[in-house]
């Protein structure tokens, strides 16, 4: 049995480890599309800020780890998949046959349709190589404009400021920050916080044009407002990496569509992580959840199924945590609410604290938080275990910050005694 994994991010690496454990006789090949050891994109902001060195971004820290695990790490890229012959064509010219295939190719920055995007000084900041290029141009006082104010942009915002950049963020047509994970109150709080810390935030429209002028790059919005920068970083969202699947017959929607066993429509081909469009435990629909916890859970479950141990996945829970210049925010599950549900919220604009709970049928189904970190994981616990809040619901209506207490009371409850 030969297992081949395309992509050496968290999903791919966890899948390789799980396969080693559950199918010890099989051959496992992990195809890594970038130079160097498998690393965590999530760690890039911390490397850019200088908090860690590059080796600190590696997914596994032990020397010779992949060799000792018995996993063949192959640095190459896959050009095409032929399910009829179970063969991959590789960019370096070779071919590779497989019995079971895992697609864990992640995503890449989407390029907005803005003239001037090819100018020198306009970069993505997605790979370690991108980070090196951006980092080399960063000096205290460098004017940086972040195109996009979604999670990807916001996660590097802090690092740029820590490096001394003079920062401008362009929010695009929505005029909001992190709108895919935070509601208007939370996003507004984050924006106000960033402005108070000296970041210029542009909310007056989407970027229309980037031009090179004597004094720097000029980004003009469709409202006519403009800003100048030495460096423009494009962070306007990502797209799943599925181009190499053209003609393979593997079904692709937003991502590679998988069933609860993480298998695609083609027998023997699985998908996991940011590229996969799998079950969302909150909605029952298939969605792309490009987050670390989903990637590692997908990797494990896909690998168990590949190893011949049929294992359904309960579905992923969308969640995220973001630190913006010291302000920490989190989102979980159906934070925007569920029809027929109830919202409980407490806002303290002055202290930059916010908690929004979304309840449905006496259970927590989603949350947004700003400025809260203690026992934050109980939000996942409450959503995932679908525990009925019972009498705690009324207490939470009066004081939603007692969430951890509610969790402990409901789960370590006297009812069981």
């Amino acid at each position: 049995m030969r297992h081949v994994i395309i992509g050496a991010g968290p999903a791919g690496v966890v899948a390789a480890e799980t396969l080693r454990q559950h199918d010890p006789a099989a051959r496992v090949t992990l195809i890594c599309g970038e130079a160097g050891p498998p690393y965590a994109r999530m760690a890039i902001p911390y490397a850019m800020a200088g908090k860690i060195q590059e080796p600190g971004t590696w997914l596994r820290q032990r020397d010779g780890y992949y060799d000792s695990l018995g996993v063949d790490l192959l640095h190459d890229r896959v050009k095409a998949v032929d399910p009829a012959t179970r063969t991959l064509s590789l960019a370096e010219g070779g071919a590779l046959s497989y019995d079971r295939l895992l697609i864990a190719t992640g995503s890449s920055p989407a390029r907005p349709d803005v003239p001037g995007l090819d100018l020198p000084g306009v970069h993505a900041c997605w790979t370690l190589e991108d980070m090196r290029e951006v980092s080399a141009q960063l000096k205290p006082g460098t004017r940086v404009l972040l195109l996009g104010a979604g999670f990807i942009s916001c996660i590097i915002l802090q690092s740029l400021v820590q490096r001394g950049a003079q920062l401008t963020v362009s929010c695009g047509s929505s005029g909001r920050m992190v709108r895919s994970m935070m509601d208007e109150t939370a996003g507004g709080m984050i924006m106000r916080w960033c402005r108070a810390k000296g970041v210029r935030v542009l909310t007056a429209g989407r970027p229309k044009l980037i031009t090179q002028e004597a004094s720097g790059l000029r980004v003009t919005l469709d409202s006519g407002e403009s800003a100048e920068a030495d460096l423009v970083i494009v962070g306007t969202g990502v797209r799943t990496n599925t181009g190499f699947l053209a003609g393979s017959g593997v079904a692709v929607d937003e991502g590679v569509v998988v069933d609860p066993f993480l298998q695609t429509n083609v027998a023997g081909i699985y998908a996991a992580g940011d590229v996969a469009q799998g079950l969302n435990q909150c909605t029952g629909l298939t969605e792309v959840h490009a987050i670390q916890p989903t990637a590692v859970e997908h990797g494990r479950v896909a690998a168990l199924n590949m190893a011949g141990k049929p294992t359904p996945y309960m579905g992923s829970l969308s969640m995220n945590t973001l630190e913006t210049l010291g302000l920490i925010s989190c989102s979980f599950g159906l934070w925007a609410g569920k029809a027929g549900g109830e919202q409980i919220r407490v806002v303290d604009e002055a202290r930059f604290r916010y908690l929004r709970l979304e309840i449905f049928d006496e259970r927590l189904v989603g949350a947004n938080t700003v400025g809260m970190t203690n026992e934050i994981g109980v939000i996942r616990g409450l959503i995932q275990t679908k525990v009925k809040l019972g009498s705690w619901l009324e207490r939470l209506r009066r004081d939603p910050s007692r969430l951890a207490e509610a969790y402990v009371a409901c789960t370590q409850g006297v009812a069981a005694e």
């Binding site: 860690i52 997914l59 590692v296 859970e297 294992t311 970190t373 994981g377 207490e405 370590q412």
Partner: protein, 159 residues
Amino acid sequence: MQRSLLLKPEKCTGCRQCEMACSFEKERSFNPARSRIRIFDLHSQGRFVPYTCTQCAEAWCLHACPVDAIQLDAGTGAKVVHANLCVGCKVCTIACPFGTVNYNADSGKVDKCDLCGGDPACARSCPTGAITYVDAEQTGYDKMRLWAVKTDTQPHAQA
């Protein structure tokens, strides 16, 4: 033989010496806010509940860490944060469904119970036997363990 913390809410009087001992052991200061164990004061139920990491088999935090900073201590079974590797991304804090990994803004890293390397300060300091460190087979940890199973969405190695 591996041992575990056995927490007995019915014996807890809420004196919070464990929180003091833990924060002193870990932070060299008496600061319950920085304790890895927390006493929940459940007024409505008229009881106190000592609460900390159960070192669960699912190890949500360990698996969620993108940079291998949470590792298993084979001696104690504890999932230990290696501060030199932790980048402070906080993913483990949202991934742990028990809420027992917390971010420490002062250090820029996360904190969790590491069983003090096999001699937990909380158990040493508890005057009523609400927190003891005993043979793992005997603890049960029944309710939390059961809860951990129910919380589990990721099938594991039945090794």
